[in-house]
């Protein structure tokens, strides 16, 4: 976006610079307002919900855990029968049944934990939704007091300092500072004004100063806060495409294992009669084998991973409208990044004073600093700072002098100060040239040439003059954010192309693009150009993510696969995007991509781990099952488990405990480092594939030792 030299400073630029963090990590380690993983209140709620979720009707949605519950019920039924007739190994059966129920509860707990975190957040939000009184305009300045719930889209309300804004809307008149900490958690007030891209206000936020008229844009129950509550609470949660596919896979595997276990019964029947010894495995043992084999780990954690992914996005103060959007962000191939505020720090800064004719650098610096003293724009301040740093010129108190400040106007396109008879001016080089000629001076060719040279290099020249005397040029430059080059490099390693969008001319754009290290740039970009670029990328099979805040960004935001709208932006932009960044920090797009990837990796890792675990469980259970029929099979008991009962019990206990052990991993997500797919796969296959095969062997062995020592089986 073209940023005018005299762009208004807003509260939103400050957090941008603070949040950049360590450039080698795409995801900051600690988030200021993140809840601790095991908050006691959340824990209590989750434990209660784990029992509620035992209801088979709701559990049916999770086929793997439903099978476990059916198995637990079946085992319990046979246990009761055996107790009634006084047959079988009651102690063993009781333990198996208990652990099977625990398995279901643990899986429920994982999901409940993830949901409880969202619900706790929703409760906080709901508290802010107290019904306020709105001043609805009837005609002219006359208004009536109505309840906020009576407002309808199209109503105009007036809000004064101290009022709660009664509903979502657009400022149609006036300017005010607004406290939006309810939504953003950020205590610094933001400016909201009519017209332009900062006109949107959110219901529930508070006007701190001035008064504004707001046109309400949403009906009660459909406001931003309502949607936010629904989203964090997971009420509208729908399974994402990848989650559905993964569910099919694990449901399919469950059926395969069901087949393997069910047919084991007749196979055992044959074997027992052929060997003439032993007995067919009991229901408790068969169910144990089934539960150990079906992917309970991933089955129990799958929905928790998805909810936690949404929650992690939320902790970054980004509101994702759907899980699908979070998932898609992991797949993004192309990132469209606005130059201003994303790649550069948003404001141009003075980097050099270039005097003309016989003027010295110090003289130019002095004049430039004086002319900028009253200039509160970041550019103006940067001139003062540069003069101070380079030439030791301190900002002087000029009030004592006879100083008259000339503010910038779009008409003159310059600003400055009249001080002790001097007429110091700075501004666009043509304006300054005109001013100098007007004052009867000569404009040296050097001035124009220097200004043109700076433009060619991608900078912005600001000419400085003292009445009829041209002094020189200040070189203003877009400053690329610290660490940006590294971050973009990481994105490249992940296979993501970055494209810089700017309103600058191609020359300027090219210079900044090469400095920042983006892969491509779109110069003098109009909203239509942006849209076409996205369509072109998508036609080539790529997924595109972008940020935007203006109404004219809306079509592109809607077209992009991941559209991150700024909370300071217009309602149209927020509606069009599928995520809203409450901090209005466009750089966050990179973090969102990392979260999306982390979500998918966590799913893949736990699925692989879950399936790989089965190898060890076979070695525990199969020899135990047929020890009496074929004692020779003891050769497969490579863990040296004590008795057939303790082997089966240990495998079931391991299977249940591993779910609980992995809950933190599911909620936090596996560690993600930006690197190529090949090295990611190698490392994750090693950890979760090979690790998944190996870990259960010592795990089951240790449990068996304990079970044996306690005399449980």
């Amino acid at each position: 976006m073209p940023s005018s030299i005299h762009e208004r400073e807003t509260a939103t630029t400050t957090p941008r610079q603070v949040r950049l963090g360590d450039p080698t990590e795409l995801l900051p380690k600690k988030l200021a307002h993140a809840r601790p993983l095991f908050d006691p209140e959340i824990l209590r709620r989750a434990i209660r919900d784990s029992f509620v979720k035992l209801n088979p009707v709701t559990l049916m949605k999770n086929p793997v855990i439903f099978v476990v519950e059916a198995g637990a019920a079946l085992t319990t039924f046979f246990l009761v029968r055996d107790i009634a007739v006084g047959a079988g190994n009651i102690g063993f059966q009781i333990q198996i049944a208990l652990w099977l129920w625990f398995t279901v509860l643990f899986a429920n707990f994982a999901e409940a934990m993830a949901e409880a975190r969202g619900k706790a957040q929703a409760d906080t939000l709901r508290k802010t939704k107290t019904d306020s009184i709105a001043k609805r305009i009837i005609v002219g300045d006359r208004f009536e007091r109505v309840s906020a719930s009576q407002l309808r889209a199209g109503d105009i309300v007036v809000c004064e300092a101290g009022d709660l804004i009664p509903g979502d809307g657009e400022v149609v008149e006036g300017i005010a500072t607004v406290d939006e900490s309810v939504i953003t958690g950020e205590s610094a007030p933001v400016i909201r004004e009519s017209g332009g891209d900062r006109s949107a206000v959110t219901g529930g936020t508070k006007v701190l100063s001035d008064n504004i008229r707001i046109k309400i844009t949403s009906n009660p129950g459909e406001t931003f806060i309502d949607r936010m509550i629904a989203l964090v609470e997971g009420a509208e949660r729908q399974k994402t495409p990848n989650e559905i596919a993964l569910n099919i896979l694990i449901a399919g595997l469950t059926l395969v294992f069901l087949l393997a276990v069910v047919t084991l019964q007749p196979f055992a029947h044959y074997s027992v009669s052929a060997a003439g010894s032993g007995s067919v495995p009991t229901i408790a043992v068969l169910v144990s084998l089934l539960v150990c084999l079906i992917p309970t780990t991933i089955g129990g954690l799958l929905s928790a991973i998805g909810i936690a992914g949404m929650d992690r996005v939320m902790q970054h103060n980004v509101l994702a409208m759907s899980g699908k959007a979070v998932e898609a962000s992991g797949d993004v191939n192309t990132l469209l990044l606005d130059k201003t505020g994303t790649i550069t720090i948003g404001n141009r800064q003075a980097v050099e004073f270039i005097p003309v004719n016989e003027v010295t650098q110090e003289e130019l610096a002095d004049a430039a600093q004086l002319s900028s003293l009253a200039d509160e724009t970041p550019e103006g301040r940067s001139v003062v700072v540069l003069a101070k740093e380079k030439y030791g010129l301190r900002g002087r108190e000029v009030a004592s002098h006879e100083a008259h400040f000339i503010p910038f106007s779009a008409y003159t396109r310059m600003s400055g100060v009249d001080l002790d008879g001097r007429q110091l001016r700075k501004g666009a080089s043509e304006s300054i040239a005109a001013f100098v000629r007007e004052q009867g001076g000569q404009v040296p060719d050097e001035l124009t040439e220097t200004a043109e040279r700076i433009s060619r290099q991608g900078g912005t020249p600001l000419a400085v003059a003292d009445a009829h005397r041209a002094l020189g040029v200040i070189h203003l430059k877009d400053v690329v954010k610290g660490g940006m080059k590294d971050r973009l490099g990481h994105l490249r390693a992940m296979g993501i192309r970055t494209v810089m969008i700017t309103g600058d001319n191609p020359l300027t754009a090219a210079a900044i693009a090469s400095e920042a290290g983006v892969d491509d740039f779109l110069a003098q970009a109009s909203p239509a150009d942006k849209l076409n670029y996205i369509k072109k990328e998508q036609a080539a099979g790529r997924l595109v993510a972008m940020t935007g805040d203006g109404t004219n960004d809306a079509p592109a935001l809607a077209q992009a696969d991941v559209g991150l709208a700024m909370n300071t932006g217009t309602m149209a932009a927020k509606e069009a995007g599928n995520m809203v960044d409450l901090d209005s920090n466009p750089t966050k797009l990179i973090e969102v991509v990392a979260i999306g990837k982390q979500l998918l990796i966590t799913r893949g890792a736990l699925t692989t781990f879950s399936i790989a675990n089965d190898v060890a469980k076979y070695f525990a259970i199969i020899p135990a099952m047929f020890m009496a029929t074929y004692p020779a099979l003891d050769a497969l008991n490579i863990m040296g488990l004590h008795t057939p009962q303790s082997a089966v019990l240990s495998a079931v206990i391991f299977n249940a405990l591993i779910i609980i052990a992995l809950v933190p991993l599911a909620l936090r997500g596996v560690r993600y480092r930006p690197e190529s797919a090949a090295s990611l796969l190698r490392r994750n296959l090693l950890i979760y594939g090979l690790g998944g095969i190996i870990v259960p062997f010592p795990g089951i062995w240790i449990i068996d030792q304990i079970v044996h020592a306690l005399g449980l089986a």
Partner: protein
């Protein structure tokens, strides 16, 4: 293992490695409709086929139409083969008068259930045989029904594979080719000319080719021996090349008229792998990256070599119980050592181990030795090869589409671990692909496990229709204990995997086994083909995602390892309980001195 034996296995593999590319490149041109050096001769024949049947060469089909064409063709083939078998008494070229009043005393009756089983068997490229060829079928049935199906069922398999390859190669397309055109091209340009060459070679080596009635000879001991005759060489060539495996004679490739010399034995094995290996190259070439094809080839090779050497190692090591009795089991200049039970002395241990691996890797099923007589682990290898679904080179076409099914599953699980929606060959692997792959996987597992489960416990009244004088389904077994269970498991694994080789040792020609093995064959064939065609259609309609450094690479050793791991782990997890009650426990029992 002897140096000679290792050399046999390694040189066979190198031969396949050398042939894969030229064969694959040739098939790429054929199925793209491009000219080859054979077009001068065969193009008129191809056009004649279209002219006679009214097929329009340039009209392509959606996956549903493709599937419908394939199914209707298979149904027609089934009815045709069934009918001809049942009517063989009234048809020509029946010098021995099978199914008629003057049939030989040892002839097998062509019952409806046997005709059903045989028809299904040849239409599904399984070629399981519940009968002995020389005692059951007329030359007319062998030539017109069975040999024709040897061509047709193999060409259908290749057509399906080619359609799936097109699914990966195309983008935003509706159609995946024309079934009839693929069928004709595969037959005319691939199977016919190569079979002709191989048949002539076999005949030159001593395989017979005649329509005579059987010869009665007097042996040196003065006994009378009936020597079967027939048009063997021509059927033998396509039996191997089309990975059919249904022998002209009961002894299959162990019979000197089918497989006369060590040289024909080598050609037979090469013919089994020739087209499946070539198709991996066709796959890579067609999707525009030959490395993708070589990765599939490499994964198949790893599994093949592991199987061949395991089998060979255990066969050459022999039976420890015989060693304890003081019998020499080390190979030496004067004797082969190892386990020679059930092996043709002409071929020996290494060649039989290699053949046993090749024939069960690919869904061929021809045999030169008794798999039933292998050592327990030696028998486990063929059984496991079939239970992973015949994807180690596999049947013509079937091997490739089966392996791509595992690639889809492997990529889906592991691909997530790179932080993207999994992609293979630029196509996103989503719910639909996973669903279809799981249906295919589930169907074959179910066919093996359920039928084997039922057969190991079901009993029929003695002399009832279903299982005749055997009574219980386990009554048909020749061996007891875990080995007997292995025989049941092998029969259904062979059927569902469309392999057709027999562990033997089970008398399967009863209505119960004919029917259930027939059903296993149908499930194992069509419940894989239909889902894979659906995948082809769905993939073809998708865009191709460009490759970046964030894309899971599917051409390196890492992917090969992943694919091998998926095949082995999925296979092992599904069948480990069953296998542990058959060859695995049998192995431990053998070491303890118990044999079955």
């Amino acid at each position: 293992m002897t140096p000679n034996g290792i050399l046999q296995i390694v040189s066979f593999f190198l031969l396949i490695l050398a042939l894969a590319k030229p064969m694959g490149a040739y098939m790429t041109r054929v199925f793209n409709g491009q000219r080859t050096f054979l077009h001068v001769l065969l193009r008129p024949l191809e056009r004649l086929c279209y002219a006679l049947t009214g097929v329009r060469e340039d009209v392509e089909q959606r996956w549903t139409q493709y599937t419908a064409s394939m199914l209707s063709f298979s149904l027609f083939s089934f009815v045709f083969v069934y009918g001809i078998q049942r009517l063989q008494a009234f048809l020509p070229f029946n010098p021995m008068g099978f199914s008629s009043g003057h049939a030989p005393g040892n002839a097998t009756a062509m019952t409806p259930d046997l005709a059903f089983n045989t028809a299904v068997s040849f239409v599904t490229n399984t070629n399981w045989q519940s009968y002995g060829g020389e005692t059951t079928l007329s030359y007319f049935v062998q030539m017109v029904a069975l040999t024709v199906q040897n061509f047709a069922s193999a060409a259908v398999g290749v057509a399906i594979a080619v359609a799936l390859i097109r699914g990966f190669a195309r983008q935003q397309a509706n159609a995946i080719g024309n079934f009839w055109v693929d069928l004709v091209r595969g037959t005319v340009y691939v199977f016919l000319p190569i079979s002709l060459l191989i048949a002539l070679f076999f005949a030159s080596q001593g395989a017979i080719q005649n329509l005579n009635s059987y010869t009665v000879a007097t042996t040196v001991e003065g006994k009378q021996q009936v020597i079967a005759q027939g048009p063997v060489a021509s059927q033998e060539a396509i039996k191997m090349l089309g990975t059919n495996g249904g022998g002209f004679f009961n002894a299959n490739s162990a019979h000197p008229f089918e497989n006369p010399t060590p040289l024909t034995n080598l050609v037979q094995m090469v013919a089994i792998f020739l087209i499946p290996a070539g198709l991996t190259y066709t796959f890579g070439k067609t999707v525009g990256d030959t490395r993708q094809g070589w990765a599939i080839f490499a994964a198949m090779s790893v599994l093949f070599l592991a199987g061949a050497f395991t089998l060979y190692y255990f066969e050459q090591s022999g039976n420890p119980n015989l060693q304890k009795l003081g019998i020499e089991s080390m190979a030496s200049a004067s004797q082969p050592g190892g386990n020679m039970e059930g092996k043709e002395v002409r071929f020996g241990i290494a060649a039989t181990s290699l053949f046993g691996t090749v024939t069960t890797d690919a869904s061929c099923g021809a045999v030169i030795g008794m798999h039933d007589s292998f050592t327990p682990i030696g028998g486990l290898v063929p059984l496991f090869n079939m239970e992973v679904g015949e994807v180690i080179f596999g049947g013509t076409g079937a091997g490739l589409y089966g392996m791509l099914l595992f690639a889809i599953l492997g990529v889906f699980i592991a691909g997530l671990m790179v932080g993207r929606t999994p992609e293979y060959i630029g196509k996103k692997i989503e719910g639909k692909e996973v669903k279809m792959a799981m249906i295919a996987l589930l169907a074959t597992s179910a066919a093996v496990l359920l039928f084997a489960g039922i057969s190991s416990v079901i009993t029929f009244p003695k002399d009832a229709y279903w299982n005749g004088s055997y009574g219980a389904a386990t009554g048909n077994l020749n061996n007891g204990g875990p080995h007997g269970f292995g025989e049941i498991l092998y029969a259904y694994s062979s059927g569902a995997a469309n392999n057709g080789s027999a562990f033997a040792g089970i008398n399967a020609n009863t209505p119960w086994y004919n029917l259930t093995i027939g059903l296993a064959m149908l499930i194992g064939r069509f419940l894989i083909i239909i889902p894979m065609l659906a995948v082809a259609g769905h993939l073809a309609s998708k865009k191709r995602v460009p490759v970046t450094s964030g894309t899971l690479p599917t051409h390196g050793p890492l992917f090969v390892g992943l694919l091998v791991g998926t095949v082995v782990i999925v296979g092992a997890l599904t069948f480990f309980p069953a296998l542990s009650l058959s060859p695995i426990v049998e192995h431990f029992l053998m070491n303890q001195g118990r044999l079955f």
